[in-house]
Symmetry: C2
Subunit: 537 residues, 2 copies
Amino acid sequence: MSDIEQLKQQVEEQGVVVRDLKAAKAEKAQLDEQVALLLALKKKLQIASGNGDEGTKDYTPKEMAVRTEIFRTITSVFEKHGAVTIDTPVFELKEILVGKYGEDSKLIYDLKDQGGEECSLRYDLTVPFARYVAQNGISNIKRYHLAKVYRRDQPAITKGRMREFYQCDYDIAGVYDAMIPDAECVRVAVNVLSELDVGKFVVKLNHRKILDAIFEVSGVPADKIRAISSAVDKLDKAPWAEVRREMTQEKGLDAAVADRIGEYVQISGSGEEVLARLQALPELMASAKAQEGVKDMSLFFRYAKIYGILDYISFDMSLARGLDYYTGIIYEAVLVEENVRSPTTEAQPPALVAKKSDKKGKKDEEDESQVRVGSIAAGGRYDELVGMFSSAMHTKGKKTDVPCVGISFGVERIFSIVKARKSEAEIKANRTQVYVISLGDTVEDSLLEDRMRIAAELWDAGIAAEFAYKIKPRKQAQFDTCDSAIIPWAIIIGKDELSQGMVKIKNMAQKVEEEKGGVTVSRSDMIAELKQRLQIN
Amino acid sequence: MSDIEQLKQQVEEQGVVVRDLKAAKAEKAQLDEQVALLLALKKKLQIASGNGDEGTKDYTPKEMAVRTEIFRTITSVFEKHGAVTIDTPVFELKEILVGKYGEDSKLIYDLKDQGGEECSLRYDLTVPFARYVAQNGISNIKRYHLAKVYRRDQPAITKGRMREFYQCDYDIAGVYDAMIPDAECVRVAVNVLSELDVGKFVVKLNHRKILDAIFEVSGVPADKIRAISSAVDKLDKAPWAEVRREMTQEKGLDAAVADRIGEYVQISGSGEEVLARLQALPELMASAKAQEGVKDMSLFFRYAKIYGILDYISFDMSLARGLDYYTGIIYEAVLVEENVRSPTTEAQPPALVAKKSDKKGKKDEEDESQVRVGSIAAGGRYDELVGMFSSAMHTKGKKTDVPCVGISFGVERIFSIVKARKSEAEIKANRTQVYVISLGDTVEDSLLEDRMRIAAELWDAGIAAEFAYKIKPRKQAQFDTCDSAIIPWAIIIGKDELSQGMVKIKNMAQKVEEEKGGVTVSRSDMIAELKQRLQIN
């Protein structure tokens, strides 16, 4: 019977329990309990079926081991670039969030009004960051933040789309010279994704000012620019024909205008190629906005070359990004589908060179191949968000616009990829180094208190140790624990050896020939002998 | 002007801005923005005044450095004892939480009903853990969990009582022999608090069965036991006279019964002393419950001696613990007030010996001295909580009662103590090792691209590095950054040196005599020279 079938049966049976209790007019407390359990079972079934209503999940110890390792990698890159971390509350005043996310505001989770001010769960880490910078009058900060965010979206757990999920953000705030922090953010993205070894990826880049110029030059009326930009943003999920239909039929854009946009958004390639193509378009370059954007991007590619990341980048006019608050460069890292590994594929060296040369003219197929994996990191420059908060916070003429640029990693997708690389059995969820074992058959020979004493000595020496919480544990059960918990060393004690002041050290991981039955050492040398084997001081 | 006065003025000024906008019938978006800012300022004022309505706070980078270090210490002790970690969602189905916290259920935060099932923010980590164990049919697990919990309590930020706060929990679930995991939990508590160096503390212990026997033997009616237990629980905050008044006047207990309880709850001292006193009370020892509790506690003290923690423990009949779900041993670690250090006090070696000998007969004064600091860790045995969930989850005759024992650390108070030990200026919030500096006065001599190139080389070598994001940074500003960010090393470049293939390495932390102006090394040896100084391979 599959898990899902078993769950279905449990839901059914629990339904009977609840009905019986109701029929028997059972106590309220007891009935409530059983109803709660029925709901919990239903939830579990929904999650197992991939359509959990809440879209939340528990992380098991082995999953946590994977997640912790991912966070460690991400944090180490962020810290290598000098970032500090902050923490903000999981809920903010509702007023702080409204009006920041455009259409997506409907996905904000509100807390129930139980008295006090109205609050909502944070939707991302960017708006709380901007609020923090403004509220504390900070003029520059490079901060990272790994935390959960909340969206009342339709969950799709198989695709890694959850209602509660982690974001890992790195942002640079401050008045700096053009494109220096921007180039560093993209380098951080490339560095993180390479170190996580997620497979082949490409970072698509664009610039809001160039995009706006394209819309203006194509003839999009000013009041339709954001709506048309939203339509273009769908090009990574839908073919041009469909996006064109949305522009013309749903959003009432003139067909000729849409076609002109269609020409522009097909432009993509290396920085050199795309800059050359854009600069060869006099009608576009007549726009001051386009000039500013092109100037920024020229500088960006100059810095990107120094940073050694040109091979990972595609300058792509079809990238639009949904959020309203971007004002300059925007980017999105996407996995290139064919390289995503199945759990059974052997580990391969990282494939770092992004495929982007044969891209032009086959956008639809190209996008199609990426649909199921999609974006794993995204960000851009947002120079006015802090100012939205700070303009009122410092009223004494102090100018507190703080330009920002950042990158946000969507960890759930990365988690799925990294997790698929190892089998469950290979993942060590604990950090236990030593298991203290007795082989006796009687209570007296099982030496509980000696096992406790030795464990305490190991703990005092900073060695991670465990033993069976039984007066008389079975021999095999103790060895099985070492195997299943992947504990590399054992201290084995017996009554006779102990009375002679001796214990055995046994390597449980590698079956070292000379240590097959373990090596007998003096009780007083035990810690030193172990430390030597564990390579700790 | 103090921060609070300044904030008050800002609130006032912002109030004027909002009124003016309303009077001028400003655009809704603009007005909403300014109203949000007014609310944010009010919130900031409330928090600064110690009565924030939401009772949440941001953590600054320096605070995060302190918190991260505390978490690292706690995690390392938990892992030394073999624990694995899990994560559960920040909200649970409301039904999972109701009926688990007695009177305190009114403090549960609910999410707004926006369609779907009713959810609440987690109130603690214990109930979600029990739900996890039951739902996954786990028979034994030793898990830790560091995460935020939520309570709609009256915030008192000066006392470290927040509406959003971290708990760090360590729990052992499984059918094991008596008191072995219990003793380990108390050892973990002692170990964590000693390593965090929080000052002198004492772990008070009691046993629910002994307490219940005391109430029965004193003549408390069965239906009043939990209410009277709650009254006793207040003995750490209120003198006996007040607790007695609550028992007799509010809860209608006979005065003679209250006085008998009063005799019992004054019993405290070492395990040996208290066990002897209890065993000398024939009317108490006639109770089967008291016998079971005393048997457990005798075993506990035997194990506690092996674990070397007797000096930290007080067996205290006045400890009751509020939550209903405890079924065996209960404990609470409290700081002993006189030892809490002021920020100016020099660091002292940990004072590990708990003061408890001169305790009897002066409970009121003793408790008084602890009121302002209070409990920093607490827990106990709860053998029936998992069963409340699992009884319905496995309906096919599989018995899934999973007995548990655990300890929970209240990190906000620990945080305040640890933070007070260092001045803000001493805390390094970043991990940057090297700052790349140019001393030139012109754009050309400021060598931006060389600084970028060197930073990239350092990053590639795994060295945390930064540089000024300016084309022409001021010399002094760069040195100031090294000082304020506590960056220990600098690479200093100049046009002439670079053209000769040389750079300078300078120790910015210690003013090493021979390195006063920095040591000139070959550009190609730079990484190796730095690694040697940073002691990395």
